[in-house]
C-alpha cells in the first residue's frame, strides 16, 4: 500500500517516526492558522495533562495492585472474546453483504452500521430488553438453558461485541469489495465449492483487512463503557473492565484512575501504530 504523505507523516509524528521537514510555507492565513493551532492544542492538552499528572513514582505499585490487574485482565479477556465473536459472525456477514444480492441489502447494511452511531447506553438498554432475564430472547435462554447473560462476564463480552462488530464488518466488507471476485470463480472452475473457495482463496486474500478490522474491533471493545455498564453492570472481577474501573477509581482514588488511563492510552497508541499503514492513509 502506498502511503499518502500527510496522514503518514502525522502517524509518524505521533509514534516518534521520522519527522517531515519543518518548512514554514509563507502565506498561511491567520484566520486558518489560529483556529488550527487552538484545535491541535485542544486535542493534545488532555493527553499532556494525563502524562504530566501521572504518579510516575507510585505507578509500578498502582499497576501491580490486584484491582488493576483484575480489571486489566478482564478487559483483555473480554475484548479478545468479543473480537472472536465478531470474527466468527462478522466475517460471514461481511461476505454476505459484499458478495451476494438480496432484496433489502442496503437496509441490512444500514442496520449493521447502526451500532456505530447509536449511543452505547442505548445499546445496553436494548440488549437488556433482548437478552435480559425478562428480555424477548433472554427469558427463553433462562428457561430452557439456564443461561443468564446480564451482569456476567459473558454479558460484558456480548455488550462489547454488539458495539465492536460493526467496525469489523465494515472493514472486511470494504476489503472484500476491493478484492477480485474472479479468484473465487477460478477456484470454482477447479472444483472448489463456494465455501471452499471462500476458505482457501478469499479468506487468505482478505486476511490483512480482517486483521485491521479485528484490531479496530478489539480497540473499540477494550474501551467500551456505556453498553457494558448498562447490560453487564460493574462487578469487580466479573464485569468491571478497565474503563469502568477508571470511572469508579476517579471518585475515590484519582491516582489509580490516572494509572489505568495511562495503560489504555498506551494500548491506543499501539493500535494506532499498528494500523497507520492500513487505516490512516486509506482516505
Amino acid at each position: 500500500m502506498t502511503r499518502a504523505d500527510t496522514p503518514g507523516a502525522a502517524a509518524d509524528t505521533l509514534t516518534g517516526g521520522p519527522r517531515p521537514g519543518r518548512v514554514r510555507r509563507p502565506g498561511v492565513p491567520l484566520p486558518l492558522m489560529l483556529p488550527a493551532l487552538v484545535g491541535l492544542a485542544f486535542l493534545l492538552l488532555p493527553l499532556v495533562a494525563l502524562l504530566a499528572r501521572a504518579p510516575w513514582r507510585t505507578l509500578p505499585d498502582q499497576l501491580t495492585s490486584t484491582a488493576v490487574w483484575q480489571a486489566l485482565q478482564l478487559s483483555l479477556v473480554s475484548a479478545t472474546a468479543a473480537t472472536a465473536v465478531s470474527l466468527v459472525l462478522g466475517v460471514p456477514l461481511a461476505w454476505l453483504l459484499a458478495r451476494t444480492e438480496f432484496p433489502g441489502r442496503g437496509l441490512v447494511r444500514a442496520l449493521v452500521t447502526l451500532p456505530l452511531v447509536l449511543p452505547p447506553v442505548v445499546g445496553g438498554v436494548a440488549l437488556l430488553l433482548a437478552l435480559g432475564r425478562n428480555g424477548i430472547v433472554g427469558q427463553w435462554l433462562d428457561a430452557w438453558f439456564g443461561i443468564t447473560l446480564p451482569f456476567t462476564t459473558a454479558g460484558a463480552v456480548v455488550a462489547e461485541a454488539f458495539v465492536a462488530m460493526p467496525f469489523l464488518v465494515i472493514s472486511v466488507e470494504g476489503t472484500l469489495r476491493a478484492a477480485d471476485p474472479r479468484y473465487e470463480e477460478a477456484a470454482t472452475t477447479l472444483g472448489a465449492s463456494r465455501f471452499t473457495a471462500f476458505r482457501r482463496v478469499t479468506l487468505p486474500l482478505i486476511a490483512p483487512g480482517v486483521a485491521a478490522g479485528s484490531v479496530l474491533a478489539w480497540a473499540r471493545a477494550l474501551g467500551e463503557f456505556g453498553a457494558t455498564i448498562t447490560f453487564a453492570g460493574n462487578f469487580p472481577g466479573r464485569t468491571q473492565t478497565m474503563p469502568l474501573a477508571v470511572y469508579l477509581a476517579l471518585q475515590n482514588d484519582p491516582a489509580a484512575a490516572i494509572a489505568l488511563s495511562l495503560v489504555l492510552l498506551a494500548v491506543s497508541i499501539a493500535v494506532l501504530a499498528g494500523l497507520r499503514d492500513r487505516w490512516m492513509t486509506t482516505s
Binding site: Y183, E185, T189, L190, G191, A192, L205
Partner: protein, 363 residues
C-alpha cells in the same frame, strides 16, 4: 430455471457423434444477445475469434457454467451439463490474466484442483509436481505467482487447468497478457501443449495470429453471432465480413457476379478471373494495388478507379494508403514509391488491380 435442449436441426456441424462438445449458448444480457452454436471434436482446438464486446468471453464463461444461459444447452461427451454447477463440470479454465492465487506457491496453485477433487495433500502435490515438470517449471514450484515471469505464470495457469484432467479446456485470451517477445515463444509452446491435449479445447482471442497458430478451426463471432467458421486458411482466403477481411489484411467487397465481372452494390465493377454468378465476395490484398498519379494511358479501363488519399500510415516497412473515391480500398506501397507519387492526404490517385490478383467466391 429450466433449460430445454433446443438445438435446431442442421444448425450445428455434424460428425461428432456424442464425443466432444456440442453446445448452443444463448445468453441474454440487457439488449445484448449471444447466440452461438459450437461443435468441437475431441482433440480439436477451436478458436472463438472476434472483436472486443462480441461475446466471446461470455460464451466461454457460459461453457464453464460461470454465466447462466437463457437458452440452448451444453453437451460434453454425450452428457448434458446444463444443470451441473461450475465446480462439478469437467472443465478447466485458463483465465485472461491467469488469476493464479497470489498467496499460494506455483505448486499449491496447481495442486488446488486435484485437492478439491478429493486427492490427499501429498497426492495432490505429487500430481502438481508432475505437471510443473511437464511444463518445464520444476525449478519454480516453490515460487509465489508474483515472482514468476509472464510466460511462466501462463504455463502454471495451464498446468493448473490441466491438473484436474478436464474434458473441456477453455482459454480466455491466453497470450494477451504477454509482451511481444515472450508471446512468440509461449505461443509455440502452447501450440505444443494443445496438440498433446486429447480432449476438447476452446480458446478465445481477438488476435488473428494467435487464433491461426493455435487453433485447428476458427469460429468468428461478431455482435453475439457466428459470422463465419472454418480452417484458418479458409478464413484467411475467403473472409466474409469486413472485420475478418481487416484481420487478415484484405480488401473485401460484396457484389453480384455475372461472368467475370462483379458489380458492387456501391457502383463500380471488378473484373475477376473466376467465372461466377449471383451474390459473391471479391477480395484482393493491399499489396496487389498499383497507384498512378495520372490516369495511366495505355491501360485498359478495367479495375481502374479514381481515388483520393484519405490517410497514410506506416505498415511494417511499407506505407499503407487509405483511399476513398470510386472504390474505398487500402493499398500498400514502398516509401520510395509514396514519395515519388507525392502522396499526401487529399491527393488524387488512380488505383488499379490485375484481375489475376483478385479472388471471387460465392457469398
Amino acid at each position: 430455471m429450466t433449460h430445454t435442449r433446443q438445438t435446431a436441426p442442421g444448425s450445428t456441424p455434424t460428425g461428432v457423434g456424442g464425443e466432444g462438445l456440442d453446445a448452443r449458448l444463448v445468453v441474454q444480457r440487457g439488449s445484448f444477445r449471444l447466440d452461438v452454436a459450437l461443435t468441437v471434436a475431441p482433440g480439436e482446438v477451436v478458436a472463438l475469434l472476434g472483436p472486443n464486446g462480441a461475446g466471446k468471453t461470455t460464451a466461454l464463461r457460459a461453457l464453464a457454467g460461470l454465466v447462466p444461459v437463457s437458452g440452448g444447452g451444453v453437451c460434453l461427451d454425450g452428457a448434458a451439463l446444463d444443470r451441473t454447477p461450475p465446480e462439478s463440470r469437467p472443465v478447466g479454465v485458463v483465465f485472461q490474466d491467469y488469476l493464479l492465487f497470489p498467496h499460494l506457491t506455483a505448486l499449491d496453485n496447481v495442486a488446488f484442483g486435484p485437492r478439491c477433487h478429493g486427492a490427499s495433500k501429498a497426492k495432490a502435490r505429487e500430481i502438481a509436481a508432475g505437471w510443473l515438470d511437464r511444463m518445464g517449471l520444476a525449478d519454480h514450484a516453490g515460487a509465489k505467482p508474483r515472482r514468476l515471469s509472464g510466460g511462466q505464470a501462463q504455463r502454471v495457469a495451464l498446468a493448473r487447468a490441466l491438473a484436474t484432467r478436464p474434458r473441456l479446456l477453455l482459454l480466455d485470451e491466453p497470450l494477451a497478457a504477454l509482451d511481444a517477445r515472450t508471446r512468440l515463444e509461449v505461443r509455440a509452446e502452447l501450440r505444443r501443449h494443445l496438440a498433446e491435449f486429447e480432449a476438447v479445447a476452446v480458446l478465445v482471442t481477438h488476435d488473428p495470429l494467435d487464433a491461426m497458430v493455435l487453433a485447428d478451426r476458427l469460429v468468428v463471432v461478431e455482435s453475439g453471432r457466428v459470422v463465419q467458421e472454418g480452417t484458418p486458411s479458409e478464413i484467411a482466403r475467403r473472409p466474409r465480413t469486413d472485420y475478418i477481411a481487416q484481420l487478415v489484411g484484405l480488401n473485401l467487397y460484396r457484389g453480384t457476379a455475372g461472368g467475370h465481372t462483379v458489380r458492387l452494390e456501391a457502383g463500380p465493377a471488378i473484373t475477376t478471373t473466376e467465372e461466377l454468378s449471383g451474390p459473391v465476395f471479391v477480395a484482393f490484398p493491399p499489396g496487389a494495388v498499383t497507384l498512378f498519379r495520372d490516369r495511366p494511358s495505355g491501360a485498359s479501363a478495367r479495375n481502374l478507379w479514381r481515388c483520393e488519399v484519405a490517410g497514410l500510415e506506416t505498415h511494417g516497412d511499407q506505407i499503407r494508403a487509405d483511399l476513398t473515391g470510386e472504390l474505398s480500398l487500402a493499398a500498400d506501397l514502398t516509401a520510395v514509391a509514396a514519395a515519388e507519387l507525392g502522396l499526401q492526404p487529399g491527393a488524387t490517385v488512380w488505383a488499379t488491380v490485375k484481375a489475376t490478383q483478385t479472388h471471387a467466391y460465392p457469398a
